[in-house]
Symmetry: D2
Subunit: 351 residues, 4 copies
């Protein structure tokens, strides 16, 4: 199989750089174009000055404007800010590009799938409807908010097995989730900020769509009640989440652990390049997972949701645990690339 | 009124130093003795070398052994480690000293009051029973775990007004809570540890005793279900707590805010020296309280529990908020001293 | 004496807020006006939302534009960014205001004094020349870069006593020195950046002017060779500086300590409100000063330069020590206010 | 070549764990034994609970006492605390083991080589003398203090080319250098400690031995004057060092850069497994190296000393730069293993 030509929209920032790095190492893709704004015309090496290492073969790529007519690519990844994504992504879809976006702009559109490949690959069927609705040659597929992913993965495993009524999330999020300059050091050194603007509504809504059922061309949201409190903490990579769930039925705690540990989905069955063998790992150690130690845990770095402190809570059918996921990989670039791999493997994209 | 002679058991550590500092500034007390272990025979100035500032008048105090026969004091504060407290505190109580302890050793004893002065001053009546039971001339009064205080204060306000069925706590605790050398920097820099050994059971049990009713000489625990997940974060002072409660009845959110903001207790009525005007302050700003900014908030530094992010949760009669309290002051030395002031003002201690 | 009306130009940022706080507590001043840019028209309470506490009497001040015709004040403090200062400060001076500026814009102008009140009060004589030169009714007086102050204070003490040939500085600077949003947390958490753009040339040049001699209406720079390496560290307040000096003659180390400890200047003699009793304190403890513990050391918070680790180096006449100074107080607002007090006390400003 | 059996004395701590990890990946060695104290009898998996990942093949190794009669190994690495090293290492040497130690206990013994493989491989000739002197079948070779290595490597390159008279070091050291529990978080969060007990004398003395000349069976120390100020900073891995040197002759700055960049030694010529292609890398970017970004720079992780900010200082023949080296790899385990490889490649050890 030849490697598909991938473009990264808004690819000169911190997350864009990660896309470039992951795509350059991925057997199915190669980086064909990177778009930017203030850096247009520079080489990637110039645009990235001073932050991390660019794959050798990408150093001389010229940063292009986010204009479909300027881009030669088989697939387009978008890590644009939401305001830009709102305008640019439809333009690319209209021009025939498959767009995989980790921006929030189109996640709630009824005909745009919001995908976690292990959870709801069948939602990709919306693509046909979307293309027809909008008379587009291409399409947009979105991936969730970085906090949603580490939350919804264990929810899915539990819902399938026991039914799920309620979930409460308290997140402790890494500063990288706000972009390179998003959190001033004056705000966060030795501190915690118990609020992230706009975050909680996403974390409350997105899981209901992701866990929803595709029925007659639209997604029926899962009937789960969710509460969320999102905080910013002085950690660098990895969103730690304290989760409490109410299941529909009582479950043995060892059975719950087994259910989480053995959860797999289509990416595992298809052995996609970015799919870890097991998307959830449950720690036995009482004090894990920890962001600095475990954000990169396992066989595919940054793609495993680690879980710990699994135990019964003190209300009937309630269970508590913590989860950790790498906010820039499983929470952004990694899940988007895994989604692209899924599109290829399920022949929705031909290489 | 003459200032009472106070002794601080185990007073050469970080919390002990804070007791000395607060007592030296307190109009009702003076520091008469400090006990230690490895530092016995040194002056305080020598024992404290390099950490903070000792009140001038205490610099030449000689560190004494924790032996009742060596101590001349009207009241004894204990910040001994629990294992030492288990042996030493009863010895002092037997020898006739009133002992106010922030150690966990005796908190669960049925005839030992576990006091937050704003909440359950009437539990001090257990003292008479205790003295009789044990044939002691003195007595032991305890104060709660540092995480319990910031949790139980808003619970009390809500319980009195609306009834309280359930409370869920997720704490983000400062490193000072583990003692000066308790958390290695290698463990916590840029990290969070989602577990604190032994902490959660205290936070689950203590509020039930504190909020319980004194009846026929014993305390009937409050019938509240509590869940807790305690984590350690790279903050220095101030335990931040994300709390969800289920009330017995539905409440208007403005009424809830008012209820918290106007909560007061006996220390306020008696205008005790260490009592803030209002023990709870509710922030309107969406991103407060924050540990580094707000641990010292208000008129009596470190004694106010600040609350923020107050809102309805998505289940009926459930409400969410965060609270912050200074773990070494409201969570230890400050509450113990306020308890002592209460004993004096209610004439359980004569100066 | 009535309190003078003070305006703070660019006063809605982090340093501006500190000026407002210090001026509100200062017996010789009251805050009459605060100017800003994007916040014009708001009250201070609105402009400062969420960061720290505004003095009660300043909450309703309306933020004004930085336009001399809109300001009613006896004295103007400027903490404008340098580019704005370049245009705005001369406008105010021309309009008759005495301007005390901690911006770098005019520090190198030959007829603008660069003042550390303890070191070179006689340089204020330049004011007359400046007014004449420029045909201004008012004038500009500048204070040094935040890193310069903690460096030049001990240099002055040593130069006066022993002569000074050379000084090498390695600074470890707090993030607050770059402004509230100046250092992203992604850049500095668990990290050190061994470079601060534009800083070293200031630290090398400014001491030569400050320590220079006023002669025939111009300042002859001190003949000292200086090297500097400036780094940014994950600390909040307080620039720590490792300094090595070559004196003109050999000196006994106890004599050097005494020389630093007993150094005083005109502000001490005049007992100015913001002057600490001793501007330099030498720690005996081997591991002090430390930024988190000692930035606020002493009788006037943030105004004392603390020194430690004083010892001979291994080349003849070379000595090593570390110094610490609060970068926002002694390094900015505090020194500017002390300079204003000096102007009043020496009758260059009439109240 | 068969892989040599390696034992790690004191191998259950943080550095020991790193030895095990590096040795398990090294083509010339395998981990045959690990000794400990409180963990004797446990498996490595049990001894290391909760910290990092043990190579699969080492998990079941039983921790042994540090007793030569219990150990079957071809070579012994020691990361014992110095007090233990003082007694244990000679016992192993006497029993015939080659001991490579990163402890300070024997570094100053005249017949014990203190080795940085790129710098002074010829000092290994002391081994014969040592064995004869002490009537030992084995021997002890030491490696330097973690701060010395990043300092002495550029010094060597400069000394060889230009002659070296003086070097001044200001270090900003990572907390891992003090052992897992060495630096309490209370001491270092948002802080810098300008003192590390016992460190500076090592950094001043060791380079003189390492850069010295072997002559008539003893090492004549290099005639260099050194000053050092060592500080502890809130960084995790990587000691950052600000260095100023006085050369014997004036040098062109580009020539100096080239001299550092092209420096190599015997390990590079012999292509030893742990030798990076170039042991020194000079950054062109003005703000590098940075500990969090660059401690692992290059082809052999943790083994490259990165240099930046190279420039002339303001005194004749003086030059300034910063260096960064991974304190646990280049500063401990990595240099020790590279030394062992050198012993093998130069047939001082037969496999």
């Amino acid at each position: 199989m030849r490697r598909m030509k991938a473009a990264v929209l808004g690819g000169t920032g911190m997350v864009g750089q990660l896309y470039v790095d992951l795509l350059a190492k991925n057997p199915w893709f190669k980086v064909a174009a990177v778009t930017g704004r203030s850096n247009v015309g520079k080489t990637l090496a110039e645009a990235y000055v001073g932050r991390g290492n660019i794959p050798e073969e990408c150093k001389d790529l010229e940063v292009l404007p986010s204009d479909p007519s300027k881009i030669d690519a088989d697939i387009v990844f978008s890590c644009l800010p939401s305001s830009a994504a709102r305008e640019v992504e439809p333009r690319f879809a209209k021009a025939g590009f498959p767009v995989i976006s980790d921006a929030s702009a189109h996640r709630t559109w009824p005909d745009v799938p919001l995908i976690v490949p292990e959870i709801n690959p069948e939602h990709l069927e919306l693509i046909d409807l979307q293309k027809k609705n909008r008379n587009w040659d291409g399409f947009i597929v979105t991936t969730p908010n970085c906090t949603t992913v580490g939350f919804v993965m264990p929810l899915k495993a539990l819902m399938d097995k026991y039914g799920l009524r309620y979930a409460n999330l308290v997140s402790m999020q890494a500063v990288s989730g706000a972009g390179y300059s998003g959190v001033p050091s004056m705000a966060i050194l030795g501190n915690i900020i118990p609020y992230i603007d706009g975050e909680e509504s996403k974390v409350v809504e997105e899981p209901r769509k992701i866990l929803g059922r595709l029925k007659d061309g639209s997604i029926e949201p899962a009937e789960i009640i969710i509460d969320a409190t999102c905080t910013r903490t002085p950690t660098i990579y990895g969103h730690l989440e304290v989760i409490q769930v109410e299941l529909s039925e009582d479950a043995d705690i060892d059975d719950v652990r087994e259910t989480l540990n053995t959860f797999t989905g289509l990416p595992q069955m298809l052995e996609l390049p970015s799919a870890p063998k097991r998307p959830i790992h449950v720690f036995e150690e009482p004090d894990r997972p920890q962001p600095r130690l475990d954000a990169d845990f396992g066989d595919v770095k940054g793609m495993i949701v680690t879980v710990g402190r699994l135990r019964r809570a003190n209300r009937p059918r309630h269970y508590s645990f913590v989860s950790l996921s790498h906010n820039l990989i499983r929470g952004a670039a990694g899940t988007a690339i895994l989604t692209a791999e899924l599109l290829i493997a399920t022949r929705r994209l031909s290489s």
